[in-house]
Amino acid sequence: MTSAAVTATGKTGTRVHPKRIGNILFGGSAWTFGILVLILLAAVMIALVIGAFPAFQQFGISYIWTEAWNPGKDTYGALAPLYGTLISAFIAMIIGVPFSLGIAMFLTELCPTYLKRPISTAVELLAAVPSIIYGMWGLFVLAPLMQKYIEPGVISTFGAIPGVGLLFQGPPYGIGLLTAGVILSAMVLPYMVSIMRDVFETVPPQLRESAYGLGATTWEVVRSVVLPYSRVGVIGAFMLALGRALGETMAVTFVVGNSYHIKASILAPGTTISASLANEFAEADGLQLSALLANGFLLFVLTFSVIGFARVMLLRLQKKYG
């Protein structure tokens, strides 16, 4: 390293100017590209707002809570895809959170050292599998399974309960919001696990060990020491996964059913903002294009507020404990 620096001075020491020009050029371009990151976010928002403008102009703000999607009559409303986006992400979290807590607990508290690396790698690989593959797997493997075994079971177990049962009625289509939620839960699981594992590891070993020393069981250590200490980060991990689930496209598109009607049952086909974009955007024009862009804008606002909140949480943890 030093020898390289010596030759650097040897070359530039006698001439002052090139040295300065190098600094200005290099520092200037670094600054410009740094700013570019900020501009990118602003530009994305502006482009979406401009694209969404005709739709909002036509239908007003009530566009957001109108359930309508009729390219024939050229009337649109965002409620059905918005509802599907929220519900499928919610289902994904309900399934994904307990699993990810279990795996993170296993990795940090229970796992023998020689298994830690291979299992962590497996989790990272699960995160690296492209989302289109989850989509295919959902279409060809999960959807038939859901239709034949899981959904009939769900319908006969929960469908009869008064009130809540409304959520679980109707024929087992195999595709629908529930299947989309299940696929999403598998997709966001590795993200949650890898962040949560890192967050759990910020807990100082002294705290953990003193609790074990007092005779606490593994579960008591996790519940009373690890989780309270790292709760900000854990919430951050959940929110980040939620942001991911809200915006995920390819895993959902095949299995969500593409129906613009809101049904009470989560077994019924629905659609999400991203799935409707994937299906229709390339062939859309006029008001439909603008409505799709408006949905994209809503998705942008939704995901970026969730992700922003998650980042603030994780940043707080980082500042507090290094």
């Binding site: 290099f26 980040l240 998650a310």
Partner: protein, 286 residues
């Protein structure tokens, strides 16, 4: 202590241990389920895709339904678009990451950029597709491979910024100071000392970005679109593996679905191998 309280405390201990046993068993099962899922997905991919793997995949273009064909156009397109995308994103990302650590360290601006960049890392990729449609495809009035490459570059950029920043942060200041003390100008210190010290980590970042964008589908659907024949013309629509998989897997033709599985096998294993290779370059934590 009388016998009843001893029995009582034994009962409590018993209950605590039982709860613990239940929870740890559940944690084991959750981990098992996660590993099983990975094995299931990869195993099913191998099972479905392997039979269609043949030399034709590399030599023939995607066929119309009912005739024989391969994935040559999609593979070529994926390589081109991913390569150009990463080629755009790498210098920009490395310089932006350099700004955050070498120039703006501690400044308010750098903090804001870092925050925004972290948000962009987890931004939904379909939003990027919409953005590029609005700023590239719509003004040009046609879909093009350029637009696809730009959207992939936008997805790769924050990943590269993030890893560059993390890796440069690990370079000890003493190294930089030694170079400064010898009279090196700042840019030389960065290029010759900081970059060299952080090289492996930065390479990991770029490779992970390649892995991430080579499987991306959503942003290509309305930028690069698709093309039934092989082309290297970047201003025309171009087929890519993920988009062809999407189109063929959802179609009702058996030979299209078989090709989709073969493509899925190709893309998944390339991505996973890239990931493993990238991680082997990464400096070990702690």
């Amino acid at each position: 202590m009388d016998t009843s309280s001893v029995a009582g405390s034994q009962l409590i201990v018993h209950k605590r241990l039982r709860t613990n046993r239940i929870v740890t068993t559940l944690a084991f099962l959750a981990t098992g389920a996660g590993l099983f899922l990975l094995a299931w997905i990869l195993g099913y991919l191998l099972f479905k895709g392997f039979t269609t793997l043949s030399f034709h995949l590399l030599t023939m273009d995607t066929p119309p339904p009912g005739s024989a064909g391969g994935l040559a156009n999609a593979i070529l397109g994926s390589l081109l678009i991913t390569g150009i995308g990463i080629g755009i994103a790498t210098p920009i990302g490395i310089l932006a990451g350099t700004y955050l650590i070498e120039y703006g360290r501690g400044s308010k601006l750098a903090e804001v950029i870092r925050f925004v960049n972290d948000m962009l890392v987890s931004a939904p990729s379909i939003i990027v597709g919409l953005f590029v449609y609005q700023v590239v495809v719509a003004p040009m009035h046609h879909f093009s491979a350029w637009a696809g490459a730009i959207s992939l570059a936008i997805i790769a950029l924050p990943i590269i910024v993030r890893t560059t920043q993390d890796m440069l942060q690990l370079v000890p200041d003493a190294l930089r100071e030694a170079a400064y003390a010898l009279g090196a100008p700042k840019w030389r210190v960065i290029v010759v000392v900081s970059y060299r010290a952080a090289f492996q980590g930065m390479l990991t970042g770029v490779l992970l970005a390649v892995a991430r964008i080579s499987g991306e589908t959503a942003p290509l659907l309305f930028t690069a679109l698709s093309n039934p024949s092989s082309t290297t013309n970047m201003s025309q629509p171009m087929a890519t593996l993920p988009v062809v998989i999407y189109k063929f897997a959802g179609a009702p033709y058996k030979d299209w679905q078989d090709l989709a599985w073969a493509g899925a096998l190709l893309i998944t294993f390339s991505v996973l191998i890239l990931n493993v290779v990238a991680r082997s370059f990464a400096p070990r934590r702690n």
